[in-house]
């Protein structure tokens, strides 16, 4: 089985978010970049298929040279080959078209991407890739097994889950639950050393238009002062929730 895992290069979850150039650009100064957490859950599941079922695992990112340390980390975790599509990631459809091309050229059976990136939260690339290449698609995936040409997946739905069967090729939108947090691997020294020697292939983008553009950013208004309620006067809290906030 050939697996392709899509890797977004995103600010660490602890990052403070700031903007520059008149609030039109994300300010990367002082920001630590990591593998998008949803992608990392998917990559870790791919590693399981590699160890147990002899799958090969390639990773792909659409971005400039600045994303290479993130791809090297994916290699250190255990991916075989990294592919970087050499262009800035502009919008969802543009990125999806780049990945669709890589997916088709490589003849992958299973494509795993996080259900959304934690930066722009578009939540569209995995589904678009599936739509573009005509593969099956399962989103918010919290369990995945593959036997021969058939996958059994568990999808998280609002208030529960459902079990689905689909033939390969398949695109999966991964999230926490496809593996547990404790299954995530911190690359060891040997992995890091090996990753330096693994291939990181740079390919040029295909021509593709974009459908959307983030023209400006804004930070939420700071919260007003909190009202503190004496623990011995909880009637006051009930009163505020009813009469002031009007939520009960």
């Amino acid at each position: 089985m050939k697996i392709l895992v899509c890797i977004s290069h995103v600010p660490d979850t602890t990052s403070k978010i700031n903007f520059s150039e008149g609030d039109t650009k994300f300010d990367t100064a002082g920001v630590q970049f990591v593998i998008n957490p949803n992608d990392e859950f998917g990559l870790t599941r791919a590693m399981w298929f590699k160890e147990k079922q002899g799958a090969t695992v390639d990773v792909v990112n659409v971005g400039g040279t600045e994303t290479e340390p993130t791809l090297r980390k994916a290699l250190a975790i255990g991916a075989d080959t990294a592919i970087r599509v050499n262009t800035p990631a502009t919008d969802g459809i543009f990125v999806a078209k780049q990945i669709a091309k890589v997916a088709q050229d490589g003849g992958y059976d299973l494509i795993i991407a996080g259900r959304e990136s934690i930066d722009y939260n578009g939540g569209m690339v995995p589904g678009m890739v599936a739509g573009l290449i005509g593969a099956n698609f399962i989103n918010t995936c919290i369990g995945l097994e593959v036997e021969g040409n058939e996958a059994t997946a568990v999808r998280e739905i609002d208030g529960g889950k459902e079990t689905l069967k689909a033939s390969l090729p398949l695109v999966v939108g991964a999230q926490k639950g496809i593996v547990q947090e404790s299954d995530l691997k911190i690359p060891n020294m040997r992995g890091i050393m090996q990753a330096r020697k693994k291939p990181l292939n740079v390919v040029e983008p295909v021509e593709a238009g974009k459908h959307s553009e983030a023209v400006k950013f804004e930070k939420p208004q700071p919260k007003g002062d909190i009202k503190l309620i004496d623990p011995d006067n909880l009637d006051k809290l009930v009163d505020l929730l009813h009469n002031e906030a009007k939520v009960i």
Partner: protein, 322 residues
């Protein structure tokens, strides 16, 4: 040319989010000088849709579509959009709507903006305000395509009444075998539990509760309020509560009317994930906990004393106000 809205139903009845997306679609239709057409799957009748401005309902009734199927639903909505000549399609951000939206976008070659929180800033070109960086920021996004899809965040717009006469029309899209290439083997859904996605009120617990055995009091508080229960990341990582209850940046987002955080210090990732909630209450014994800077109301003290007392007070309140 009408604005098309996908109105979700369950067991034949429209969900509350269906009325919210309908209200929003009406707002967009007013800006564009057109009307709202809804598309539903196996809904019995238009019900209250007219109250929220829907002029026409396309009813898809097909036993093959009883269980949600992203590909087939997307195909049907695409055909509805073609039939109506719709240039704007509005849908919710439920798990199902988020699943089908990118498939629909590819079929219609449409631009898609997810997590939208307000009516468009302008329509030529269409510009929407959406959350990004998991609620740490807003992004103003322009869609440049002929057809546009707007995914409206839950609770961002609310219900707005605008009476219309709804004409109902049966609609039978032509679906192919390929639309049913994914088989639903089983659906496992707790019928009696309020879900985080649908809940108006969410009661959430953190490490301060010391262990899974102490969740009884939170569940009682939640039951009193008709609320869903949730938890912080460490609590789900330690296996005290199921992952499906983890809310925050890498868990589920919460956009409730009221979010009550008990024994949760308020890590930046957690606060980001719940910040779309309208009113936040924090109960914590550490007055320095960061959550106190992000909440509307706070109680400093021992959760094990406060939560049962608060539950009692709320029961009294409910008894006097029902």
């Amino acid at each position: 040319m009408s604005v098309l809205v996908y109105t979700e139903s369950e067991e034949g009845k429209f969900k509350k989010t269906a009325f919210e997306v309908a209200s929003y679609a009406k707002g967009v239709a007013d800006m564009l000088g057109t009307e709202v057409t809804a598309v539903s799957f196996n809904a019995q009748s238009a019900g209250d849709l007219g109250k929220y401005g829907v002029s026409k309902l396309l009813k898809v009734n097909d036993s093959k579509l009883e269980k949600f199927n992203a590909k087939a639903y997307a195909d049907a909505i695409k055909q509805a959009a073609d039939k109506e000549g719709s240039k704007v399609i509005v849908l919710s951000q439920s798990a199902n709507a988020k699943y089908l939206a990118p498939l629909l976008a590819v079929q219609l070659e449409a631009g898609y903006a997810s997590n939208v929180v307000a009516l468009p800033e302008g329509t030529e070109p269409l510009e929407v305000k959406r959350t990004a960086f998991t609620n740490k920021a807003f992004s103003f996004t322009k869609l440049s395509t002929d057809v546009k899809i707007i995914g409206l965040s839950k609770n961002a717009f609310g219900l707005k009444e605008s009476q219309a006469e709804t004409t109902e029309e049966d609609f039978s899209p032509s679906l192919s075998e390929g639309d049913f290439s994914i088989e639903v083997v089983s659906v496992d859904k707790a019928a009696d539990k309020v879900t985080i996605a649908d809940a108006e009120i969410v009661v959430s617990g953190g490490r301060g509760l010391k262990g899974p055995e102490n969740w009884g009091m939170l569940e009682e508080l939640a039951e009193t309020l008709g609320a869903a229960t949730a938890c912080s990341k460490p609590v789900s990582d330690m296996g005290w509560r199921p992952h499906s209850e983890h809310v925050g940046q890498t868990g589920k987002p919460v956009a409730a009317n009221l979010y009550i955080a008990v024994g949760i210090s308020g890590a930046i990732q957690h606060l980001a994930g719940v910040s779309a909630s309208k009113t936040k209450v924090v109960i914590n014994n550490d007055p320095e906990a960061p959550f106190f800077k992000a909440a509307d109301y706070g109680v400093v003290g021992d959760a094990f004393e406060i939560v049962p007392k608060l539950t009692e007070k709320l029961k009294e309140f409910k008894a006097n106000n029902s």
